[in-house]
Amino acid sequence: MKSILHRLLLIVGFMPTAALADWQLNLTRGVTSISRNAYDLHMLVLWVCTIIGVVVFSVMFWSIFHHRKSRGAQAAHFHESTTVEVIWTLVPFLILVGLAVPATRALIHIEDAADADMSILITGYQWKWHYKYLEDDVEFFSKLDQDSNRARMLGSGEDPASVENYLLEVDNPVVIPVGKKVRFLTTANDVIHAWWVPALGFKRDAIPGFVNESWALVEEPGIYRGQCAELCGRDHGFMPIVVDARPPEAYAAWVAEFKAKRAAAALKQDPKRAWAREELVTHGAEVYAARCSDCHAADGSAVNGSAPSLAGGEVVLGAMDDLIDLVMFGTGEMHAFGGQLSDIDIAAVITFARNSFGNNAGDDLQPVKVAEFR
């Protein structure tokens, strides 16, 4: 739901950079004080290194050119000089002290997450992100968008260049207000992930059992993209992050809209009522496409043996109780979906799987039955 203004901003602000980005050589300056500090420090150290490099390599290559036997050079015999050695130990040390001062200042600034205006709890899952706005009672999963997901499959035959923001687009971006200090709390549900948006200027690991703290005060509205930055398994390369920074009023409007939609959906979705099989299959197909197809493939045939095939599978057509248990609590490679999906979702996706891909169990699973397993 992008406004016209928003679209304009996107075109004016991002088309030129998108075109130039192909040959981007340097770190982004970003849109926060943290990212600007990082950029300035990066340039400082880069220049220090460049100057030292030019001096040292000039001396070396001058020597290589002039002090060669083929030019009749006679070898000198000196092999030590305490003065020179003390100088070239002390000078680099002093340069390092000079670098450490701004670096320390920048680090203290980064680690000061106090007095935040709002907090978002970010939980990494294999392979998606969950965002929970602690003050605003908003929460949702965010994963790779369907266009990228289709195109990235091995042998998809689709040209990635034809997909807008290939691998850097999600279904639900994380919306934040500009001009507010937002605190990000990162944790994970399974393995370690890392939440990184370069324009915000930091990355922070999401670790099971730990809650890490970081913050950003974004100054300009815009869409800022990033990716998971810690190897987290097979689809590590496919869990992007999209931050949508909006003016505070637009942010408030987004929160209101989110809640209104959720309330409307809840009305239709009563887990207590009896659901028709067709209803469950239709809803289950949506859940399957969004949550299961990455590993089990759109047609249930499984991707390159990374997950069991669901077509005629013994487990999927086996005892219902075992199947519910497996989907909710996982085992080995199978992820636990109990915490991620509602009773309706689980009932629907199981019903769908037992009655699709050539499977024909002919039965259905009611949400109330799933509730018994919680």
Partner: protein
């Protein structure tokens, strides 16, 4: 140094090498074992290189064309394990086996039977590791760093991985013990510590790093094993454990490990540059002290590999300061090499070319290392291609270039033949050009925001990835030249003199070329 007794043992060939395969299986001869280490390392270099080719082929363009993401992750994991534990480390141990006894005037290593054993563990360790490629579920894919909890999701390959790492570790520790025992006890009369060639010095320090750090790795992987199979929760947060603790333990091994792979390289370059500059090494004593300082610092910088885990501010500051401090002794080394060249009388045979390539390109890797040490910016660089570029500059154009320099330098002494200088120079120039095409653009990719260890990427990263892949294929092909030079030199060639290089100094050059099967059975007197 003098070499009064150098040729005294020339006629004492009462027994030479045994015949057939038995010579290699049962040998306790340091030269045979050194050769086996080197050949093993070369084979692993090509196996690990083939995996790198798969990686670069998949990354040639966006989209998945060739391999499944899980297999891609296996390739990055196995490439690192094979190159680190199979190629670079055994190559340095092989060089130590061959050269340390002849550099210190000893007849053999102090513990010859142990020496045989530490080599023969290696092929079996790698048989275990490489066999995982054929297991259901595939080879380990959690990264060579084996971070918990991800590595615990490994399937049947998991125990193979752990046991292989254990075996490599045992081999390395035994090798290190042997090297220390040899240098401490078997130096020629008069060869005091401050007269030792720098290669010997760097290996003393490396051996201590190995003995100190490898058992820590062994502890870490054992805890992984019990977490997986015996119900412990060392690294499982749900059981009261701590996933970050694994990273602390691993990098307490891991950072000394990266110096294990570079200190012997410093020793090699410190041998080669004086030879071809025809001028003694500048600042010998400060080189020794700088090496020792680097080794000491390597134990108190480990957490700079994990700045993003969320440490307290004081911890981040401590590790930032100690990390950038390493630049001081490393700088001293580079300055000393340049001062050694200064007003020398230089010639540029292949070993010298590789040594000079090392000095320039390793220094570039050092610069990016300094940048990575600055914590507030590391939060941007961490786990991107900038890091990949950094450690390939120090490991490929650093460690691997030094091993190649050493091979060209000592090959005439080993085989008795001069290698083909024209082919050697061709190998150097094709390597040095292509390796920069391969790794330099990766700095740009990292700065532009491309994470490492991903099989597919956003389209704006396409151009530099293509350039990098083309450089990668060309660098891979260039190494076939190296193989050709070595094989050609072993088979024959111009007869090498004893001294081989005009400016060469040290006991190894007092031996005939090829070095006899048993050398220095009577110790030389060093004055």
């Amino acid at each position: 140094m003098s070499h009064a007794a150098a040729h005294a043992d020339h006629h004492e060939h009462h027994h030479g090498p045994a015949k057939g395969i038995g010579r290699w299986l049962y040998t306790t001869n340091h030269k045979d074992i050194g050769t086996m280490y080197m050949v093993f390392a070369l084979i692993m270099f090509f196996i690990g290189g083939a995996m790198a080719m798969v990686i670069r082929a998949e990354l040639f363009q966006p989209g998945l064309q060739l391999v499944d993401p899980q297999f891609f992750n296996s390739m990055t994991t196995m490439h690192a394990l094979v190159m680190i534990f199979g190629a670079v480390m055994p190559a340095f141990v092989g060089l130590a086996n061959w050269m340390v006894p002849v550099m210190i005037g000893a007849p053999d290593m102090a513990l010859p039977r142990l020496n045989n054993w530490s080599f023969w563990i290696m092929p079996f360790a790698f048989l275990l590791l490489l066999s995982t490629l054929f297991l259901p579920g595939g080879a380990p894919a959690g990264g060579w760093t084996m971070y918990a909890p991800l590595v615990l999701q490994t399937g049947e390959a998991f125990p193979f991985l752990i046991l292989a790492v254990h075996m490599m570790g045992i081999s390395s520790v035994l090798g290190a013990i042997n090297i220390i025992a040899t240098i401490f006890n078997m130096r020629a009369p008069g060869l005091t510590y401050m007269k030792l060639p720098l290669f010997v010095w760097t290996w003393i320090i490396t051996a201590f790093l190995l003995i100190t750090s490898i058992p820590v790795l062994a502890g870490a992987v054992t805890m992984l094993l019990t977490d997986k199979y015996f119900g412990t929760s060392f690294f499982n947060a749900a059981g009261g454990g701590d996933p970050v603790m694994f990273q602390h333990i691993f990098w307490f091994f891991g950072h000394p490990e990266v110096y294990i792979m570079i200190l012997p390289a410093f020793g090699i370059v410190s041998a080669i540059i004086p030879t071809f500059a025809r001028k003694p090494l500048f600042g010998y004593e400060s080189m020794v002290y700088a090496t020792a300082s680097i080794a000491f610092l390597s134990f108190i910088v480990w957490a700079h590999h994990m700045f993003t885990v969320g440490m307290p501010l004081a911890g981040e500051l401590f590790f930032m300061y100690t990390t950038v401090l390493i630049a001081v002794p490393t700088g001293v080394k580079v300055f000393n090499w340049v001062a050694t060249m200064w007003r020398g009388s230089m010639t540029f045979e292949t070993p010298m070319l590789f040594a000079l390539g090392f000095v320039v390109l390793f220094t570039i890797g050092g610069f990016s290392g300094l940048m990575l040490g600055v914590t507030p910016v590391d939060f941007q660089y961490h786990d991107t291609y900038f890091v990949v570029a950094h450690f390939h500059y120090v490991l490929v154009t650093g460690a691997v270039f030094s091993i190649m320099a050493a091979t060209y330098y000592w090959l005439p002494k080993w085989t008795g033949h001069m290698y083909d200088e024209r082919l050697g120079k061709l190998h150097f120039w094709s390597s040095v050009i292509t390796v920069n095409i391969l790794f330099f653009p990766q700095h740009f990719l990292g700065l532009a925001g491309m994470p490492r260890r991903i099989p597919d990427y956003a389209v704006q990263f396409t151009d530099f990835n293509m350039i990098s892949s083309i450089g990668g294929f060309a660098f891979g092909l260039s190494q076939l030249l190296f193989l050709a030079v070595v094989i050609k030199c072993v088979r024959g060639g111009e007869k090498a003199t004893d001294r081989v290089w005009e400016g060469a100094e040290g006991l190894e050059w007092t031996l005939p070329s090829p070095a006899p099967y048993h050398s220095f059975t009577t110790p030389p007197i060093v004055r």
